[in-house]
Symmetry: C2
DNA sequence: TTGTATGCGTTATCAA
DNA sequence: TTGATAACGCATACAA
C-alpha cells in the first residue's frame, strides 16, 4: 500500500471518513471516544491529508505564494528563509517565484503561475510598493501581503517605521563629534527605505547641523554605488568625516573606497550602514549598522497571510555599534542566524 | 465568474473537455482545426489548468520540493534563487522547506510535510550528503536529487568536481612565489568540499612543496572560524605567506584578522577563498576566489528532478583573481547576479 | 481523431 | 453527534 488516505483511517478507526475529516480539521462536533480512536488510527497509519484534495474540495489551498526579486541583496535571502520557516509553522506551504527586478506587471502573468492558486501572495521590497502588482493579484481574488512598506493602498501592508532607529544611529554619529555627515540613500524618494533619509534629516536638524545637498547622494543599494558615492563625496573641498549609507552593501563600498584612498576608519572617516547583513560583520572594521527584525517581520507577514491580521506593535530595530564608527577593533564573531 | 475551468474552455471552443485536455498536455492526436479553436479559447479565457486537480487525477504533482539549511551561507541563497528560476522555466513549482542544520532524519517527518506530494525533492549541501535523509524520502517513493555531492549512493547525484579548479587556484598562489600556504578546510573529511582539500594537497605535491600539518586546519565555513584559523597560523614561528580558505566567509575572516594584526594584504599575507560569494567582492582588497556555476548546477538539478536525466559534462568553474593575491587595488563593481 | 464514464482524496451540504 | 452523497477540476481508460 502506498500512502494512507482518509478512508484507510476511517476503516481502521471504524468510523465514517467524514468523522476523520472533522477530527483533522479540529471541528468539535466529535465525541471524545471517537476522537481518540481516530487520532490513534491517524498516528498508526502516519496519515497526512493530501494537499491537492483539500485544495480541490475546499476553498483554501494552504499555499502561500512569495515573490522575490532576482537581484537579491542579502536582506531578501534572510527574508526568504524566515518566511519559509514561519509559513511552515503556520501549517502552510511556501511557493516561491522569482521576478526580475525591472519587470512590470504586464509581463507578470506569463511569469508567475496562478495554477497553484495560493490563498495569499506575499511581496517583498521592491515589489511590495508597486500598486500595479497588488492590483494584478487582487483582480484574481488573491489577498496580497506587502512586506516592509510605507505606502498605503490595497492589500495587507506590513508597515515598518525605520525613522526612529535611523535618528538614533545619526545621534550616535553626532555624539562622536561628526558635523559633516554624508548620506548615500535609496534610489528613489518613494521607497520604504526613504524613512532612512527622513531620519537623517531629522537628526541633523535636531542637532542644528546644516543639511548640505552635496552630502546627500542616492545609490541603488549595490556595493558599486557605495564606491561611487564615497568617491564623489571624498573629492569635495569640505569632505564629510562620516558617511551613512542606507544599506550595508553600499556602506561596504564606502569602506572599500576609503581603504583604497588610504583613509583610516573611523579616525579619518566613520562609516555606518543599515540592515545588519552578513557583510556588515565580515568587513574590517565591522560596520556600525541597524539590525532588522527580519524574523518578527516574517512572522507578522505570515500572520497577515493566514489570518488577515495586521501587526499592532512596531518592530524592534536595534542599533549595532561596531568598529567602523567606534574604533573598536574586535571582530563580530556571533554566528549569523537566519 | 471566478476562474475559467477546462469545461469553460470546452464550451467556448465547442468541443469536449477531453479535447482541451489533450491540447493542454501537448498530445498530438488533435486535428489542427480543433487545436486552433481550443488554443484561441484558452487565450480568450486566460485559462490555466488547476494544479490541484492535475495532481489529484494524474500521477504528477508538478511540484518540486527543496530542502535548505537554516544556517545559510550565501551559496545557499544563490542556489535558492537559481533553483526557483529553473523550476519555473521547467513548468514546475518550487516548494521550499527549511531544515535546521543539525537536525537528524528522525525529526524530519515532523518538520518536512509530504502533504504536497512533490514529484521530487532536491537536497542542497550539507543535506545532499546525508544518506539517511535520502533513504527517508525514497521510502516514500519520492525521487531525490542530491545537489553538489561527491558521494555515491541512492538518488540522483549532481556530482561536482572541484579539484581541478582548486589545483588551478593553488598554482596561482605558488606562481606568485608562495611556498608556505595555509589551508582552512571544511569541517569534516566527508563533505563535498573535501575536494578543495585534495586539490590543495595535489598542487603542493606537484610543486614539490612540503605539506605541513600545522598549516592544515579545519573550519565550519563561518567568518569566525576564518578568524580563528588565521590567528592560529599567524602565530606559528614559521608562519604562512598565503592562506587558502575553502569558503569566502572564512577567507573574509582571515582577511579581517590580517588587517587587525597589521599585515598588509597581499604583500605580507595573500588570501584566497572559494565560491565567489557577494562578500568576496565587498572586502578590501577583493578576494581571489573560485566562481561556482550556480545557475548551471541548478539547471542540472531541475533537469534531473523533472526528467531523471543526469548531467554529462562537468561544470565550468572559473578562477577569479583579485587584489587579495594579485595586489590589484581595483574594486569589483560588476552587479551581483543571482 | 474525438468523446464518455469513472475516480483521485478531500470538503460541503444535507439528512439521520 | 454522526454519516451518506455530491461536488471540486482534471487525467486515465475505454468506447465511438
Amino acid at each position: 500500500m502506498q500512502v494512507a488516505t482518509i478512508k484507510d483511517v476511517a476503516d481502521a478507526a471504524g468510523v465514517s471518513f467524514k468523522t476523520v475529516s472533522r477530527v483533522v480539521n479540529g471541528e468539535k462536533s466529535v465525541g471524545p471516544e471517537l476522537r481518540e480512536r481516530v487520532e490513534q488510527a491517524i498516528r498508526d497509519l502516519g496519515y497526512k491529508p493530501t494537499l491537492a484534495a483539500r485544495q480541490l474540495a475546499g476553498q483554501r489551498s494552504f499555499i502561500i505564494g512569495l515573490i522575490v526579486p532576482r537581484l537579491g541583496i542579502s536582506y531578501i535571502a534572510r527574508m526568504m528563509i524566515a518566511l519559509a520557516t514561519a509559513t511552515r509553522q503556520a501549517g502552510y506551504h511556501l511557493m516561491t517565484e522569482v521576478l526580475d527586478h525591472d519587470e512590470n506587471h504586464l509581463s507578470l502573468s506569463g511569469k508567475v503561475d496562478f495554477s497553484a492558486r495560493p490563498d495569499c501572495v506575499m511581496l517583498t521590497p521592491p515589489f511590495s510598493n508597486d500598486p500595479r502588482l497588488v492590483a494584478h493579484f487582487e483582480a484574481d481574488g488573491i489577498a496580497v501581503v506587502r512586506i516592509a512598506t510605507v505606502i498605503e493602498g490595497h492589500g495587507l501592508p506590513i508597515h515598518v517605521d525605520e525613522e526612529p532607529i535611523t535618528v538614533e544611529l545619526m545621534r550616535h554619529l553626532i555624539a562622536l563629534g561628526h558635523r559633516r555627515i554624508g548620506l548615500i540613500g535609496p534610489p528613489l524618494p518613494v521607497r520604504a527605505s526613504e524613512m532612512r533619509v527622513s531620519g537623517y534629516r531629522k537628526a541633523m536638524e535636531e542637532a542644528g547641523l546644516p543639511i548640505d545637498p552635496d552630502l546627500m547622494l542616492r545609490g541603488d543599494f549595490s556595493f558599486a554605488s557605495g564606491v561611487n558615492g564615497a568617491t564623489a563625496m571624498l573629492a569635495l573641498p569640505d569632505r564629510p568625516t562620516a558617511i551613512f549609507a542606507t544599506g550595508d552593501e553600499m556602506a561596504a563600498g564606502v569602506l572599500a573606497q576609503a581603504h583604497k584612498l588610504g583613509y583610516r576608519v573611523p579616525d579619518d572617516l566613520a562609516v555606518a550602514g543599515f540592515d545588519d547583513s552578513p557583510v556588515s560583520r565580515m568587513v574590517f572594521p565591522a560596520l556600525t549598522t541597524v539590525y532588522q527584525p527580519v524574523q518578527d517581520i516574517a512572522q507578522a507577514a505570515v500572520d497577515a497571510a493566514v489570518h488577515g491580521r495586521l501587526p499592532t506593535a512596531p518592530f524592534a530595530y536595534e542599533l549595532r555599534i561596531r568598529g567602523s564608527t567606534s574604533g573598536d577593533r574586535q571582530h563580530c564573531l556571533d554566528p549569523y542566524r537566519f
